[in-house]
Symmetry: C2
Subunit: 292 residues, 2 copies
């Protein structure tokens, strides 16, 4: 059976000066249909976690060159930026998400205009709901937070574990059933939360620790919180703390025009995809970003 | 005389799970040689500060479209990612830094392999030491932290204010005279710190509050620290705090081969620069990342 491990934990922490945006990064391993062992990364985090990601791989006896598949739950900045570390990987992304990333909306602060250039640095496999990545590891379409958000359902020996990306950022969302950040469709986002809850024994949120829902509807975390902050302390003058257990939903101002724009842009998206130069796998000895 | 304002404050905070990497972002304003008023942004921060950057511009009565020049102190991820917000701007960057960003070293975790694709989204003006951006605003070459790190010296009515980028991350570096993160040349980095100290009345560090050095050699901060953390508090189990006032220097493992590689890559760099498609200023009404 496939297994799931946390490579980098996700955090539900934030600040009033910028988003640290530490998403969870997961390692899924299991045999493919031919019995060969496969090593799948789910989400890649942003550059501020790059050295941590390399260290976490090493702690599992792996180098970046061992990753054969990188699945993106979605194309937001904090989930995608380290994909260039994995020169031997195929990028698995929902068709709608890949294409959206080439003409993101001006109001979409989580998807910079250059995101499409980044995604095309790896060979892309576009997927849709229900597709198998390896046996026992399947794509679960979870649109709403973004156009092509997906989850990854892993059939482990402890039950069905679902990596949700930001279809379910934080454990508390399993109770409020409202996505706190809607860049695409709020109703769809709520249906996606319900879908996660319906199919999962264990939930691996985008920015929180894995948890189960108890029969009473409470959150039962499976991991402890651990974080060290450097350069400040509880007595630092000017430092204050705010509760984060229920945030108001923010919906992108331009969300209503999103679907029509996306359809209108179809030809332009094809053109842009065809024009991106691949700068990875460099032919320059000793240089380049992506030596395994 | 030109003026300088803090748009986003820089922070000397860090974690053991990833770098928040909140650099300072500065607004420099003054007349050009023809007497026209100019609006210059120095550094652009990473995507996790994008909505905060827009809000800070609005608080100064500006939109992204009002920025005519974006100066990058260097091309590290946390300083460059929002340049696509400024479709009317010219990008000012040191020649060595721009070119390095097209073939970054595999060990350079702060400069992903796709950085060159990002930089070329704006028209680039390559600069070297001593060049004038507008009268009273000059480039100060500060290599060492990265190949083409620069400072920006602003001759204000309060004296010479220097935006240092990460040639001087934190105020304490003015006393240790050691750069804590060397991606290019440690000796050069120390000379650059000395150079900042020699020419500046007020120092605006890359990741700290502006300060003066007193006659006794102490640090006199000009701004108060202010930060709110959401989702945790001093009593959160598993949260700990560490001192950050003097960090050991980290030198990139591959730093010794850097200069030879950079020279060897010259032709490849030219080729890469010529091939980057510009995806900003989109011709699609209502879509695209960069409406002012």
């Amino acid at each position: 059976m496939p297994t799931i491990d946390i490579l980098l934990p996700g955090f539900a922490i934030d600040t009033d000066q910028g988003h640290p945006a530490f998403c969870g990064v997961f390692l899924v391993r299991g045999p493919d249909t031919a019995g060969r062992s496969r090593t799948v990364l789910v989400d890649a985090a942003h550059v501020g976690r790059r050295p941590f990601l390399r260290d976490a791989l090493a702690a599992h006896g792996l180098t970046a060159g061992d990753i054969d598949t990188v699945v993106l739950t979605h194309a937001h900045w904090d989930h995608v930026q380290n994909i260039d570390l994995f020169p031997h990987a195929t990028l698995v992304v929902h068709r709608d998400e890949r294409r959206y990333a080439h003409t993101p909306h001006a109001d979409d602060w989580a998807t910079p205009g250059w995101t499409g250039l980044l995604l095309e640095q790896l060979p892309v496999r576009e997927v849709t709901d229900g597709e198998e990545i390896i046996p026992g590891v399947e794509v679960l379409a979870l649109p709403g937070h973004s156009p092509g958000s997906i989850g990854v359902v892993v059939r482990t020996d402890r039950g069905r574990a679902t990596v949700t990306g930001d279809a379910l950022h934080f454990a508390y969302v399993a109770r409020t059933r409202r996505n706190p950040l809607v860049f695409w469709d709020e109703d769809a986002a709520t249906r996606s939360i319900d879908r996660v809850l319906a199919v999962s024994d264990v939930i691996y949120p985008g920015h929180d620790r894995p948890f189960r829902m108890t029969e009473a509807g409470d959150i039962d975390y499976l991991e402890r919180f651990a974080l060290t902050l450097t350069g400040l302390g509880p007595d630092t003058p000017g430092l204050s703390f705010a509760d984060g257990t229920s945030r108001p939903t923010w919906t992108m101002p331009g969300v209503r025009e999103q679907r029509a724009l996306y359809e209108k842009n179809a030809a332009e998206i094809d053109r842009r995809i065809s024009r991106v130069p691949r700068v990875l796998r460099p032919d320059l000895p000793g240089a380049g970003p992506a030596r395994g």
